[in-house]
């Protein structure tokens, strides 16, 4: 029935002279999302509109699902296109459209016509009236309501004529690839995949780093993180996931530092390592799933202490979210079910019963001097353990 989709984009529309860069990126991302589906989809830009033409044989639901994963699309509409521009042709096509797409026709409607083809013999208003009359004649149970119509029937007259009435919501945001690259600290919990999603939504390419601590964390925990990265990659495009063996650093901190400071010191080293990998990979910032006050390591003082080791900006898109808001978002993007699988992550294995909630940076730094003998060597070893997995290819 439908063989095309009209893509609407919100924020890109307000860009200035570099607007084409955003549009081209959006087209690239749409093509990437549709590449996984069988058949050839053509994605074209004409007169400031993006159209997706579907192959002869295609799955409507799969196509809609793919488009829902493309940042930059604010909405998209399944359209019927016809080459016939005569008013009789348009009237007939509009009736056929209603016939095929609505089980019940007792709705109120309004026709909204736009003419990009300005030399068309009828004005927009006249086309509205013609098409409205045709629909009323064909379906007497319908009626016109120009103020609050239940259905808005859009008619666009261009080189071809487009008819559409359904508007499906896209994820919004900006096309991935229009705004540099960032390194996501991915833990396997609920928060970090959502944080990655939100930053990618602003057009940012993601790399990710996961700290693995065998034998304290299992291969299943690692697989869970790979699966989460795959799920984020459905929106964000391919993600380079770095898996770092963190066990020895963790044990060393455990032996040398006060137990209640363990988590903070560990997180400082995770940030340091993440930043080193980020810089090697030309990332312009770090991304974490932290939210103020969620746990001991995410109080203002703790964030201050972990942030202190970073020179790159650290983006924390969930900073003001409640846990329930984060859960809701993770359910929306489909990462929740995986996130709650019960495999232990390395942040929790040695966590003290009463970790410090108001770490004093001077004291933390003093504790870290206990590590001076071996920590550089262990950091090198951790960086060398980097196992790279590219997900979402």
């Amino acid at each position: 029935m439908f063989h095309s989709f009209l893509i609407k984009y919100a924020e890109i529309g307000v860009k200035g002279k570099n607007r084409y860069l955003f549009e081209d990126a959006l087209i690239r991302q749409i093509k990437y999302a549709l590449k996984k589906l069988p058949g050839h989809y053509s994605v074209t830009k004409t007169n400031g509109r993006i159209y997706v033409a579907c192959p002869e044989e295609y799955d409507y639901d799969d196509t809609v699902d793919a488009l829902r994963h493309v940042f930059g699309i604010s909405a998209f509409c399944p359209v019927v296109c016809t080459d016939d521009r005569s008013i009789e042709g348009i009237r007939a096509e509009a009736v056929k459209y209603i016939e095929n797409n609505y089980d019940r026709k007792d709705f109120s409607f309004k026709v909204d016509t736009r003419r990009a083809y300005k030399s068309y013999p009828l004005t927009s208003m006249e086309v509205d009236a013609e098409v409205g009359e045709a629909i009323l004649q064909a379906f007497p149970e319908s009626h016109v309501d120009v103020h609050h119509p239940e259905e808005m029937i859009h008619v666009e007259i261009r080189e071809q004529t487009n008819i559409y009435s359904r508007i499906l919501k896209g994820p919004g945001g900006m096309p991935v690839g229009t705004n540099g690259k960032a390194m996501l600290l991915l833990s396997g919990g609920i928060d970090s995949p959502v944080a990655g999603y939100m930053i990618a939504k602003r057009g940012v390419i993601l790399d990710a780093v996961y700290f693995h601590a065998p034998p304290y964390t299992s291969d299943r925990a690692k697989q869970k993180v790979i699966d989460l990265a795959e799920q984020v990659a459905r929106f964000a495009g391919p993600i380079w996931l770095h898996i770092i063996n963190f066990t020895d650093i963790q044990l060393y901190i455990y032996e040398k530092c006060p137990h209640d400071e363990l988590t903070i010191i560990m997180r400082r080293y995770m940030m340091k390592i993440a930043e080193l990998i980020a810089k090697r990979n030309k990332c312009l910032g770090l991304v974490t799933g932290e939210s103020i006050g969620q746990v001991a390591s995410q109080t203002m003082k703790s964030l201050y202490a972990t942030n202190e080791v970073c020179t790159l900006p650290v983006y924390r898109p969930l900073i003001g979210f409640d846990k329930q808001e984060i859960i809701d978002r993770s359910e929306e993007i489909g990462t929740y079910e995986t996130s709650i699988l019960p495999y232990e992550d390395c942040c929790t294995i040695f966590v003290a019963k009463h970790p410090v909630t108001k770490p004093n940076l001077q004291i933390i730094k003093r504790s870290e001097t206990n590590l001076s003998e071996k920590i550089d060597e262990l950091m090198e070893a951790a960086l060398a353990s980097d196992e790279l997995i590219v997900v979402g290819k």
Binding site: P214, P215, Y216, T217, S218, L251, Y254, E255, H259, P342, E344, I349, F350, V351, A352, K353
Partner: protein, 381 residues
């Protein structure tokens, strides 16, 4: 590095001869036993032969063997099938606190349907008290279900004694035994022990996964739980898993051909293992009636961490019971034998097969000896 698989109560490596037989059946004798032509008859013969093999082992009639998709299905069929078929006689069932989930979960389901389930306590070795059973018994008890060998701690239940008590006190009550951890290594003859229903699984004895059987005494009224084409005398519809069933039978035949020497070997492995780990302090052995299951509490070490640390040395064991341990939950068995709370999460299981070697046992013990002190240095405070 030596590979040392000590998780044989979770599953076993499939026997080579079993694999070749199954391969031949899948590629050449692939007929449907219900087909009327020669191909179908050839396939049916495998099923008949397998039934006879098990009838010989269990000293029963071939018509009392019903093949299933495995131990879980056998247990479900025995419990739900008898409850449905006999519900007019009463609504009570009796089982123990240490059953595998394949028994306790269908029991729970029946409770939700209005049946009443009584649980038998166990002592610190994991054994039930026949006197308690006797006090619970009555004509309104439809079924007693007690496992032969506990999967987590290797406790051996006095099933023959239980069978005796039931036949004396309440002859109409049916007796089901989950023999998934005993079959192949011990020999339990249903008719001698007063057992009406007995569940067996193939993959615990070097047979393929996805196949098992339920022995159903001829006097038992049992409703099917799977309906369809009426195969296996209507007890269990569905095209028979011919290669699986034939492989299962061959695996069982091989286990019982060497039963006595296998058992002596398992006993020797067990004694060697305990000797080798005797130098490790602060460990406790739980239960331990059978030589092929060793439940070891390593105080101060989390079981999952120990498991992964051993895994790094190619030693494979399980934490609690592998069948239910993809989600960390507290083991009902360990709780029932009164393992203290702080030790529940510190218990691993080593389970041996007749194919396990003494070298593997020595290697595993050596790895334990190396790993435990390291892990004990780093514990959650």
């Amino acid at each position: 590095m030596m590979e040392c698989y000590l998780d044989n109560s979770a599953t076993t490596r499939t026997d080579e001869d079993v694999v070749s037989l199954m391969r031949q059946i899948m590629l050449s004798d692939y007929g449907n036993p219900s087909s009327l032509h020669k191909k179908g008859f050839e396939a049916e013969k495998y099923i008949i032969d397998a039934s006879r093999t098990f009838a010989d082992i269990l000293k029963c009639d071939a018509s009392e063997i019903c093949f299933t998709s495995g131990g879980t299905e056998s247990n479900n069929m025995a419990i739900i099938g008898t409850a449905i078929a006999n519900r007019r006689r009463g609504k009570r069932l009796i089982t123990t606190r240490i059953e595998h989930a394949a028994v306790s979960a269908p029991m729970k389901f029946l409770e939700e349907q209005g049946f009443i389930v009584d649980l038998l306590d166990v002592d610190s070795h994991g054994r039930i008290d026949p006197a308690q059973l006797e006090s619970y018994l009555g004509e309104d008890v439809l079924l007693v279900s007690v496992m032969h060998v506990n999967n987590e701690i290797g406790a051996l239940e006095p099933v023959a004694e239980i069978g005796n008590i039931i036949k004396k006190k309440s002859p109409s009550t049916l007796f089901h035994v989950d023999d998934i951890q005993g079959f192949g290594k011990l020999r339990l003859i249903p008719k001698q022990a007063g057992i009406d229903l007995l569940s067996v699984s193939s993959h615990k004895l070097h047979g393929p996964k996805g196949v098992g059987l339920l022995y159903i005494n001829r006097r038992v009224k049992l409703s099917p739980v799977i309906f369809g084409g009426g195969q296996q005398r209507g007890f269990r519809s569905g095209t028979e898993n011919v290669p699986g069933i034939a492989g299962f039978a061959l695996a069982a035949k091989k286990m019982y051909a060497h039963q006595d020497e296998n058992y002596r070997h398992l006993q020797a492995l067990h004694d060697l293992f305990l000797r080798e780990i005797s130098g490790i302090n602060d460990i406790t052995i739980n239960g331990g009636d059978v030589p092929y299951i060793v439940s070891l509490t390593v105080h101060g070490v989390r079981a999952e961490v120990l498991l992964h640390a051993l895994e790094e040395k190619n030693v494979y064991v399980s934490a609690g019971s592998a069948c239910s341990s993809n989600k960390p939950s507290v083991s009902a068995t360990l709780k029932a034998i009164s393992v203290p709370d702080d030790a529940l999460d510190s218990t691993v299981r080593f389970s041996f097969s007749p194919h396990t070697t003494e070298d593997e046992i020595r290697y595993a013990a050596k790895c334990l000896d190396e790993v435990i002190p390291v892990l004990r240095r780093f514990i959650r405070k």
